[in-house]
């Protein structure tokens, strides 16, 4: 493992370890097509940039690579033989809450972080049955469970420089020595008493551990912090709301659209003081483009859901930021959903790819957003190149590419005392946190998503620190078609769907696609499925012990063979009916999601188990 403090450690390391690249990949050079991975496709096909190249033997971070492709270059398992997959190992996490995490594999060890109580296990992949090498129990405060809005999940750890970084529900970021499981540092970043929790998977970029908070439903103020990888000290904090100085908007800031320009918009687009409790948390995914040296992250919904009390655009909630990783200084920002009224968090993944647009290849960022649009943006400038709906959307009628404005449908905005029916997509959006995958071989994005609509009624919201600050009655139900979930393949170049698979329940797991042209995802019934990445034909499926909401990964084991791993354990927001002690007679339970999931207990049960598959 290289420990050089190179200016471009990633690409160098890749080059050395697997030597996949047909041409030299250097830090500042123009990206070239890594020929082995990418079969030549007829002209105009999209190609991945250097940021997508990664070590296919390992899986160091939940999104696999900085470009968030979740694409594995391994091709041992392919469309022809995937039907022979079988379980080679299982491991019970001992927790039966929602397992949203991705296992990470570094070297010959697999690391799992469980939902609260956030125990970390290191599994030895060299021994049969993958026994645990060590485990670490951070003992988070029990009370933190009471302020976690949507189950006590954790979305995974990240491995870097021989250390494992992960977050706990009670706002700690902890660095463990990956070999021994001993903590190196432990930094407390927030206070559960104000409603803050952390559920996201950190990302390490250029020696900074990037961590954001959760708690948009509790009236917290969202932030993204960079911690020094060695010491755990906070290097910078970028808030989502408030004056430019705290949002880290400075002279570098050059947003593309006029509506995002102005001084202290994070204050002036709010009623007095409301920005202090205005949400915009950062509990989702971060991508990094080493060429431009920019990180990309979203911000969550404004708080409270009841929009009456916060007239204005409510910047910078439900937005995308591009920042410099060293200083956090914002380079551009774009507000996807100004003055959001439907909990359309903007924290989904951004997939960084190169895409031919109008005959020229552009460095783009693809964001399947909660608000129902597949944003294709120039990741250097923040210009929206296209924004096509990829599900049923009636809460807005499109995005004006000139002004960047979302055309909100005023009829679908609930206010206090008014019930608005049939809002699509529902609060979890067309797609929630569950990350999609991108295959440079097919040029398609594989999107696990839901198909839900909802009724909403504004309620007066009272702010009490540390208690939910929502102000909305919500009742969700299946969208048109009656299926609650979809696994969809989307062609970002054409802005059209390639194929899709209807699932009865929301597809709340992440997606994985491999160079064998197989796409993997799990369903909440517990089926782990492999489909043909080009056609969507179901090739193989396996019923796990509990519903799957985790993120599947692929790695090469010590034996040189390709493995697929996924955590099974239903829960999360979608699985609240099983994760919590809820009563489905109340259709507003778990912010209305339970209404759409009443039949879940008859289809699966709680669980917490790692499954590893191989041929």
């Amino acid at each position: 493992m290289l420990r050089a403090e190179s200016t471009c450690p990633m690409s160098l390391r890749l080059f050395v370890i697997i030597g996949l690249a047909a041409s030299t990949v250097s830090c500042k050079s123009e990206p070239k097509t890594p020929g082995v991975v990418l079969s030549a496709r007829t002209g105009g096909s999209p190609s991945n940039s250097d940021t997508t190249v990664s070590d296919d033997g390992q899986w160091l971070r939940p999104a696999k690579d900085y470009a968030s492709t979740r694409f594995s270059g391994l091709s041992e398992i392919n469309t022809g033989n995937v039907k022979n997959l079988r379980v080679v190992a299982t491991f019970s996490t001992g927790v039966v809450r929602g397992h949203e995490a991705a296992p990470v594999v570094a070297g010959n060890t697999m690391y799992i972080v469980t939902p609260y109580p956030n125990t970390v296990y290191a599994l030895d992949l060299t021994k049969p049955g993958f026994p645990a090498k060590w485990s670490y129990d951070p003992k988070p405060e029990a009370a933190s469970q009471g302020v976690a809005c949507c189950d006590v999940v954790n979305r995974g750890a990240v491995f870097d420089q021989g250390r494992l970084f992960f977050n706990t529900l009670d706002d700690h970021t902890i660095a463990l020595d990956a070999a021994t499981g001993k903590p190196v540092w432990d930094t407390k970043l927030g206070d559960i008493n104000t409603g803050e929790t952390i559920t996201m998977a950190p990302l390490v970029v250029k020696g900074k551990v990037l961590v954001g908070n959760s708690g948009g439903e509790m009236g917290v103020r969202g932030w993204l912090k960079a911690l020094d990888e060695r010491s755990g000290k906070v290097v910078w904090t970028a808030y989502a709301t408030g004056p430019d100085s705290s949002v880290l908007i400075g002279s570098d800031f050059k947003p593309f659209y006029a509506s995002d320009k102005g001084k202290d918009l994070g204050v002036s687009s709010w009623p007095p003081d409301m920005w202090k409790i205005g949400g915009g948390t950062m509990w989702g995914w971060i991508a990094y483009d080493s060429t431009l040296d920019l990180i990309y992250h979203g911000t969550a919904n404004p708080g409270p859901w009841n929009n009456d009390v916060r007239p204005g655009d409510n910047k910078w909630t439900s937005a995308i930021f591009a920042r410099h990783p060293e200083t956090g200084a914002a380079v551009w920002a774009y507000q996807l959903t100004p003055h959001d009224s439907h909990d359309y968090d903007g924290i989904n993944e951004q997939i960084l790819i190169d895409l031919p647009i109008n005959g020229q290849t552009r460095k783009v960022l693809v964001r399947p957003d909660r608000n129902g649009y597949m944003y294709v943006m120039d990741r250097a400038t923040g210009e929206v190149l296209s924004a096509e709906p990829y599900g049923v959307v009636n809460s807005s009628s499109g995005v004006d590419l000139k002004t960047g404005q979302l055309h909100v449908n005023a009829d679908k905005i609930p206010t206090v005392g008014k019930v608005v029916r049939d809002i699509c997509p529902a609060a979890p959006g067309t797609k929630d946190w569950q990350p999609s995958a991108y295959s440079p071989r097919t040029g398609l994005i594989y999107i696990p998503r839901q198909n839900l609509c909802m009724d909403e009624e504004g309620l007066s919201a009272n702010y009490i620190a540390g208690t939910p600050y929502v102000g909305m009655n919500v009742k969700m139900f299946a969208g048109p078609g009656g299926n609650r979930g979809v696994f969809q393949a989307w062609n970002p170049a054409t802005g059209r769907e390639a194929w899709s698979i209807k699932e009865d329940l929301p597809v709340w797991s992440g997606a994985l696609v491999t160079a064998g042209d197989v796409a993997f995802y799990g369903t909440m019934e517990g089926w782990f499925k492999a489909v043909d990445a080009r056609t969507g034909t179901l090739l193989w499926q396996f019923k796990t012990g509990s519903g799957i909401i985790g993120q599947p990964i692929s790695y090469r084991g010590p034996d040189g063979h390709q493995y697929i791993a996924v955590l099974s354990g239903v829960g999360g927001w979608a699985g609240a009916i099983l994760a919590g002690v809820v009563d489905p007679r109340d259709s507003s339970t778990a912010a209305g999601f339970v209404n759409a999931m009443r039949d879940l207990p008859s289809k699966t049960t709680k669980g917490g188990m790692l499954y590893v598959f191989s041929l």
Binding site: S268, W270, P272, D273, V416, K418, N462
Partner: protein
Amino acid sequence: MHSAFDPHSPQARAVAHLWWSMFAVGGVIWIAVIVAMLIAIARRGDVDFGGRKRGLTIFVAGTGIVLATFLAYDFAVGHDLAKRGAPTLTIGVTGHQWWWEIEYEDLRPSQRMVTANEIHVPTGQLIEFKLRAADVIHSFWAPNLNGKRDLIPGYASSQWFQADTPGVYRGQCAEFCGLQHAKMAFLVVAQTPTDYLAWRTASAAPHTPPADSIAATGLKVFLSSGCPLCHTIAGTDARGTVGPSLSHLASRQTLAAGTLLNTRANLMGWIVNPQALKPGVHMPAIPLKPAELNAVVTYLETLK
């Protein structure tokens, strides 16, 4: 201070004129009927029946003319009242059981301001009120300035007026809204535009942490008791929206929706036992020790 007889706006004046003319005509008719009745019983001697039928016709025609005149006049006044230019200021009024939430609207969201039970308006400008009910039906009525308008759940409605002269005009909820309907009043403080702006600026000013130590203790007590769960003081961590905002409470003239004059003694009494002053009000008696109470009231009094 609180009368339809004493109009201070073109709207209320038009209605007052209508009233006085109806009063005059109605009074004459009433006296005429009574006089006719008295003559009828006083006149002894069988008077002939002739002429009564014609009398009836004339009477019906006369009544019709009077009513038609009233009707025309009423329509004219109604037309005048409905006519309005663009309001220079829009104020949201939300009726709660039993207090008024007042929100000064502004196209710039950060310039919005929420207060309670006391409405400041500039004179000579048309003010529009957007009316909304948070629970049951209430009715917004400041008789010196305009007629009333109901605040009805499920309906949006509005009312407007233009105050002529500076002054303090009292208003009260006019639709029965439960236990404390009687104590749900508000004040309209009409000020010259200059004074109004000064007030507006002062009221938008951020909260300054109390300098003196008793007041500082008061703030601490305030924040650690149940108070911030229901009340907001702008600039502090108290952000409750259940009860009226207390930002700049000390600059208001009354407490508890026009129930009490804003004096130190009343404020203390109110905090210690609101149920004695306004039985059924949703505010509980706050169990504070005398020193704490003194500190809280001292602090609240700094909120000018």
